[in-house]
């Protein structure tokens, strides 16, 4: 009777809504095959790390505000450029598969990057459907030991507890790019990395691609 599966999950968050919002947020960024081409066009020159984060957050809120009108496809199309220009997707792709990356063929690297990219954008488009008064507030920033930046912000929910959002950025060429989002202390990069490396180890490359593709289909068809 007292059955509880995701009991740990229960533990994780106080209310469903809050959790959904933040889990999704940090789940959303990823790799894009389109990074090469579109980043050429869209790269945000000379923005500070803080500006990159604030710009992305504003774009996110804007898409949420038009969310219902846009529909899934419309949101996907708006999220794609916003994510690609502000995130170092290729680097994230390498990191989440860890040392396995070395062993991939060129074709596999490309395939992985492509499906990751679509999954990330699709998960944003699926999860940020509408707006109900959410906002972000900048708290502080800090340099890391290896020359990165951490931007501390808080996501303010009208009917719920605030959620801390920390963004980790590294410089790519001359531009600051997001490589991780830590929401309420949960690191997207670490979480994904554990999942992906585990699947690669247990089931192999094709299984990983199949799982990602299945997720994209679920988001698209819901």
């Amino acid at each position: 009777m007292y059955v509880e599966i995701g009991e740990g999950v229960l533990n994780l968050f106080k209310t469903g809504k809050l959790i959904i919002v933040f889990f999704i947020l940090f789940f959303g960024f990823n790799i894009s095959l389109f990074a090469e081409t579109s980043s050429e066009l869209n790269v945000q020159k000379n923005l500070s790390a803080k500006e990159v984060v604030l710009t992305f957050q504003n774009e996110l809120l804007d898409i949420m505000k038009q969310g219902k009108k846009l529909g899934f496809k419309g949101r996907y199309e708006k999220f794609e450029p916003a994510i690609v220009k502000s995130h170092d997707l290729e680097k994230v792709a390498r990191i989440v598969v860890g040392k396995e990356w070395k062993g991939f063929s060129e074709e596999q690297k490309q395939k992985l990057t492509e499906v990751f990219s679509r999954l990330s954008i699709a998960s944003y488009a699926h999860n940020f459907k509408e707006f109900s008064g959410e906002s972000f507030e900048f708290l502080s920033e800090d340099k890391t030991a290896r020359g990165g930046f951490i931007i501390y912000t808080v996501f303010i929910l009208p009917d719920d507890k605030d959620v801390k959002f920390d963004y980790m950025l590294k410089k790519k060429s001359d531009n600051w790019m997001i490589i991780n989002v830590i929401a309420a202390g949960v690191s997207d990069l670490a979480l994904k990395r554990s999942e992906y490396t585990s699947i690669l180890k247990r089931e192999g490359f094709e299984a990983l691609i199949a799982k990602i593709t299945e997720k994209i289909d679920n988001y698209t068809n819901q």
């Binding site: 009777m1 007292y2 059955v3 509880e4 599966i5 009991e7 740990g8 999950v9 229960l10 533990n11 994780l12 968050f13 106080k14 209310t15 469903g16 809504k17 959790i19 959904i20 889990f23 789940f27 680097k91 390498r94 990191i95 860890g98 040392k99 070395k102 998960s123 699926h126 999860n127 502080s140 340099k143 890391t144 030991a145 290896r146 020359g147 990165g148 951490i150 507890k161 605030d162 920390d166 980790m168 590294k170 490589i179 991780n180 830590i182 202390g185 949960v186 690191s187 990069l189 670490a190 979480l191 990395r193 554990s194 999942e195 585990s198 699947i199 180890k201 799982k211 997720k215 988001y219």
Partner: protein
């Protein structure tokens, strides 16, 4: 929320003890099954989740039980009960758990937060009509999450292995005494508040499951490997609670460093210096650590995995120091 579930029914401790026996028996066997030299990630995983084989089986079991028992009941509850009643029920149980929150505040030496959380409990118990309304949040007194497992961490008790407990879900071995204390500190273990005790406890479980509906749906949608997803999110979230949100950045610098090793066309020297600046948020002061091993700069002559392992060790050492600093 986890503690909520534990608080209501001591019979669950039975499951805990059964599981303990189970995993000790089976755990030893699984330990020797890996022949090849483990990678960095594997080493880390084996330390954290040495009983993954058993844990995964329990996780699958829990999933089935949830699907066929807990979820249908919870769905019915959500469907039948008006939203305002659901909120009232949630508030009521949250308010009772606030007793445990301020007790643990004080045990961790957080006197100011303890005072505020006590105030929160008093306000909600009176103005909030026995906790049915959360008026304190409106006054700026948001609920804090404290429990005895966190207090044990602050006192220096190690985390111990990650465990998936039948029916109850994820926990670390440190969470077991934590859960016992939390249960003892919650009135719903003893008092029915005008209704039969068993009814109240059951309502508490259903309420907890109903509140988690959104999270579980999200995990179901997003996770490629729900077992790993749950484990990582749980462990990271707990770690963050213990540190009161003051830890950040170490792991990212490690990932970044590792990526430099694996990145193609990367033949230049790699910056291994992780100690020239604290990697944590401003509020936390890191002790300088002159005694840490220095990593050889001759990258090509040393095994990359060994280098990464060393850096990871150093990050881990420092992270431990940070935790200690936070709690002093």
């Amino acid at each position: 929320m986890l503690s909520l579930l534990f608080k209501k029914d001591r019979s669950k401790l039975f499951f805990v003890s059964v599981f303990l026996i189970l995993f000790f028996l089976s755990g030893c066997a699984s330990h020797h099954s890996i022949d090849s030299e483990p990678s960095v990630v594997e080493v880390n995983e084996q330390e954290i989740d040495p009983f993954e084989g058993v844990n995964r089986k329990v996780y699958s079991f829990n999933k089935v039980v949830d699907e066929y028992v807990a979820k249908p009941i919870s769905d019915a509850y959500i469907w039948v009960t008006p939203k305002i009643v659901q909120t009232g029920v949630s508030n009521f149980f949250n308010n009772l758990s606030d007793i445990n929150v301020f007790l643990n505040d004080f045990m961790q030496g957080k006197l100011r937060q303890g005072g505020l959380d006590t105030g929160r409990f008093l306000v909600n118990s009176t103005l909030g009509l026995g906790g049915l309304f959360d008026v304190a949040t409106g006054f700026g007194l948001q609920q804090n999450e404290e429990d005895f497992a966190q207090t044990l961490a602050v006192w220096g008790v190690p985390q111990g292995p990650y465990l998936m407990i039948p029916v109850l879900g994820p926990m670390t071995s440190r969470g077991i005494p934590g859960a016992v204390f939390d249960a003892a500190a919650n009135p719903t273990s003893y008092i029915g508040f005008g209704v039969p005790l068993q009814f109240l406890q059951m309502l508490q479980v259903i309420n907890a499951r109903a509140n988690a509906e959104g999270d579980l749906k999200f995990i179901n949608e997003a996770a490629l490997d729900p077992y790993i997803f749950t484990r990582e999110a749980f462990l990271q979230y707990r770690k963050n609670l213990i540190a009161d949100g003051e830890l950040s950045g170490n792991e990212d610098d490690f990932f970044d460093l590792e990526d430099d090793f694996y990145e193609e066309d990367q033949n230049e020297s790699i910056n291994l210096d992780i100690d020239n600046k604290p990697v944590v948020s401003k509020e936390v002061k890191v002790n300088s650590a002159p005694t840490l091993p220095v990593i050889s700069p001759q990258v090509e002559e040393v095994d990359i995995d060994e280098q990464i392992r060393q850096v990871r060790l150093r990050l881990k050492l420092r992270s431990t120091r940070v935790e200690n600093t936070v709690f002093e």
